[in-house]
C-alpha cells in the first residue's frame, strides 16, 4: 500500500490554525498565481487551464478548459461559482470555503480574467454560515488589497465579486437550478437544451458555472504551470483531488490524493488516510462518488481513483465523496435513507421524480419496518425504471435534471448486491440489524 508523495495543491494551508487569514495566505505564496496571470494574456491563462486538463470537481467531471473555450467566442458577462455542496457525504468545498477562502478568491479572479467577465457570483450553501463569513471577510480584504475590484494590481482588469447565500435546497447545486435561485426564484432546474448555461445562463446571458474546488486549483496551476499539473495523475484524470471519506472508517475526513495513483483500498485502509474500517469490522459496500452513484463491493476496492477507471465499474467518482458501510449495515435502511433524501430534496417539477421518490421511500420504509412483500422488490425496480429506463449506468433520463434518475442507483445497488437483506426483512417481518 503506497500513498503517493504528490504535492498538496488545494489543501497546503489547511494545517494552519489561521489558514483563512490574509496574513497567512500572503505568507504562503498567496496571490502569486493571480499576479502571474495578469502578466499573461487572458487567452494564455485559458490555454494553461485547458492544458492542465482540469476536470470539473462539481460532479460531472467536465474539463474546465473545454467549458470555457465553448464560450470564449463572445463576451461572457457572468461567472458563477458553485459552492452549494449538498450532496450527502460530500464536504470538501465546506473545508475549502472555511479554511482557505483567499485561495478561492484568487482562483475566481484568475478565471474571471481568463474569461474577461465583469461580475462574479459565489453561490454558497446557506447552511455554511461560517464559510459565508470567511469568504466575505476574505473578499473584503482582497478588495482592500487591490486583488478584486477596480484595476486589479494595476493591470487594468476589473471585476466585482458578490457572495450570494443559498437558503437550503440540495437541488440548487444543479447548475441551472442554481441560476434560477440566483435570479431570486424557486430552484427549478431549467429545461435542456441548452445543455450548458454557457449559451443562456444567468439572466439569459452566457454564463460559466464552476465548482469551488475547480476554482481553488487555479492559483497552483498558473503558478506551477499546466505541465506540473498533468505530471500528476494519469490520462484524463490529472492532478490531485479531494476525497471526502465518511461512514464507518476510523478517520473520516477530507483527503487530497493524486488521481489514479491511489485506489479505493488505499484511501480507506492506509493508516495516514482512512485508517481502515471502524472497529476493525469487515467492509460490506462503498458508495464511490456521492449518493447518486451506484455502489461497489469489496471486490472492486483496488480500482484506482480516476474518472475513467471508476466509470468502467458502471459507477462514478462524482462529487468525490466515499462512504464506507461495514458488515453491520442494514442495506435496506441505507437505501431507504438515501431515497428519503432524494424524496425530500426533489424540486417537484417532474412527475416521476416528485411522486416516484416519495413512493419508493414509502415502499422501502415498509420493507424496513417488516411489512414488505416479495413483490415489492419488482415494484421497486419497476418504479426505478420509470425514473431511469433500464436502470442502467449512466442512467437514461425521463426528467429535466439528473436528480430523478439518480434515485435508482442506491436502490438498484442494494437489491442487486444484497437481495438477501431484503428477503430477510420480508420473511422475518423486520430488520435483523435492529
Amino acid at each position: 500500500m503506497v500513498v503517493s508523495e504528490a504535492p498538496r495543491i488545494v489543501t497546503s494551508r489547511i494545517g494552519f490554525e489561521d489558514s483563512h487569514t490574509l496574513v497567512r495566505y500572503l505568507d504562503t505564496g498567496g496571490y502569486t498565481g493571480l499576479r502571474k496571470a495578469l502578466t499573461m494574456t487572458p487567452e494564455a491563462v485559458a490555454a494553461e487551464v485547458d492544458g492542465a486538463s482540469l476536470l470539473g470537481r462539481g460532479g460531472a467531471g467536465f474539463p474546465a478548459g473545454r467549458k470555457w473555450s465553448m464560450l470564449r467566442k463572445g463576451p461572457i458577462p457572468y461567472l458563477v461559482v458553485n459552492g452549494d455542496e449538498s450532496e450527502p457525504a460530500t464536504f470538501k468545498d465546506h473545508l475549502l470555503l472555511e479554511k482557505d477562502p483567499h485561495q478561492l478568491v484568487e482562483g475566481v479572479v484568475i478565471a474571471a480574467y481568463a474569461l474577461q467577465v465583469a461580475r462574479v457570483f459565489i453561490y454558497i450553501r446557506g447552511e455554511f454560515a461560517l464559510g459565508l463569513e470567511r469568504v466575505q471577510a476574505a473578499l473584503n480584504e482582497a478588495y482592500a488589497q487591490g486583488a478584486v475590484g477596480r484595476d486589479i494590481f494595476g493591470s487594468g482588469f476589473s471585476v466585482d465579486i458578490v457572495v450570494h447565500p443559498g437558503a437550503g435546497a440540495y437541488i440548487c447545486g444543479e447548475e441551472t437550478a442554481l441560476l434560477e435561485s440566483l435570479e431570486g426564484k424557486r430552484g427549478y432546474p431549467r429545461i435542456k437544451p441548452p445543455y450548458f448555461p454557457a449559451a443562456i445562463g444567468l439572466y439569459g446571458e452566457p454564463t460559466v458555472v464552476n465548482n469551488v474546488e475547480t476554482m481553488s486549483n487555479l492559483p497552483w496551476i498558473i503558478t506551477n504551470g499546466a505541465a506540473a499539473f498533468t505530471a500528476l495523475g494519469e490520462g484524463r484524470s490529472t492532478g490531485t483531488r479531494l476525497f471526502a471519506l465518511a461512514g464507518q472508517v476510523r478517520n473520516p475526513g477530507v483527503y487530497e490524493v493524486e488521481m489514479v495513483k491511489t485506489t479505493f483500498r488505499d484511501l480507506i485502509y492506509a493508516p495516514v488516510l482512512g485508517g481502515g474500517v471502524l472497529h476493525g469490522r469487515e467492509l460490506k459496500a462503498v458508495i464511490p462518488g456521492g449518493v447518486s452513484a451506484p455502489w461497489i463491493g469489496p471486490a472492486q476496492l483496488d480500482t484506482p481513483l480516476g474518472q475513467d477507471e471508476v466509470a468502467a465499474l458502471d459507477t462514478m467518482l462524482g462529487s468525490g465523496s466515499i462512504v464506507v458501510m461495514d458488515e453491520t449495515t442494514c442495506m435496506v435502511r441505507a437505501a431507504w435513507r438515501i431515497t428519503r433524501f432524494f424524496w425530500r430534496e426533489s424540486c417537484g417539477q417532474c412527475t416521476p421524480c416528485r411522486e416516484g421518490s416519495g413512493w419508493l421511500e414509502k415502499i422501502l420504509r415498509r420493507i424496513e419496518d417488516g411489512v414488505g412483500r416479495e413483490a415489492d422488490l419488482d415494484l421497486l425496480m419497476d418504479t426505478c425504471d420509470n425514473l431511469a429506463p433500464g436502470v442502467s449506468w449512466p442512467p437514461q433520463q425521463t426528467t429535466i435534471c439528473v436528480l430523478g434518475p439518480s434515485i435508482p442507483s442506491s436502490i438498484a445497488s442494494a437489491i442487486r448486491m444484497f437481495r438477501d437483506d431484503f428477503l430477510v426483512h420480508i420473511k422475518e417481518g423486520g430488520c435483523p440489524h435492529g
Binding site: P75, P88, L132, Y143, S158, A169, G184
Partner: protein, 207 residues
Amino acid sequence: MSHLSAETLGRARDLVALYPHRRSALIPLCHLAQEQDGWLRPEAMEEIAGLVGVTPAEVLGTASFYDMLHTEPVGTYVVAVCTNIACMLRGAYELLEHAEDHLGVRAGQTTADGVFTLEDAECLADCGRAPCLQVNHRFFGDVTPEGFETLVADLRRGALDGEVPHHGTLLRVRRTGGLQVEPSRVEAERAASAGAAAGRANQGGKG
C-alpha cells in the same frame, strides 16, 4: 409603515444594489428579514416583494421552496440534527431520538417555552465529524447523547451566545463597500453579448 427596521431596510437596499436585476436579492433579503424577526413574517414578505419588484405570492412561493426560510415561527434556537447516510452510519438516529426525549418534542416541533425547534436535517456537509448538528447554522460535530445535553444546557444559560447568534443571522461580516466596476463596462459587455445572443436565439430553452 415599514415593518422592516430602518437598519434592515438600509442593508436591504445595499444588497439590492449588488445585482443587475433586483429580484436576485430576494433570498438574501429573506435572510435579512429572518435576522430581524427570527422567521419570515408575512409583513416582511410583502415589503420584500416591493423591494425586489415581484408579488407577495412570488416571495412566499420562492421562500417556501427553501428549508432555511421559515414562514412559520421557530424557536430561539433551531437545532438541526443530520440523519443522512454518513451520520446515520455513526448513530445519528440514536442522537435524534435522544434529542427528542431530552427536549420533549418530535423533530419538526418547537418546545413549549419557544426556545428550541428540533429538525431532522439532510446532510450538513460535516460528515467528517458525524454525527453532527447545527444550531442556528453553526456546526457542532461528533455529538454524543451526553454532549447534546451539555450543548442544550450551555445554550440555555447563554454560554454560547458569542458562537451562536440568534436565529436567522447568517453573515455577521458585512460587505465593505459596494461594487467598484463601473456599470458602463458591464453595460457595454452586456450589449455586446446581446448581439451575440441574437445569433443564438434559436437555441430555445427556458430562462
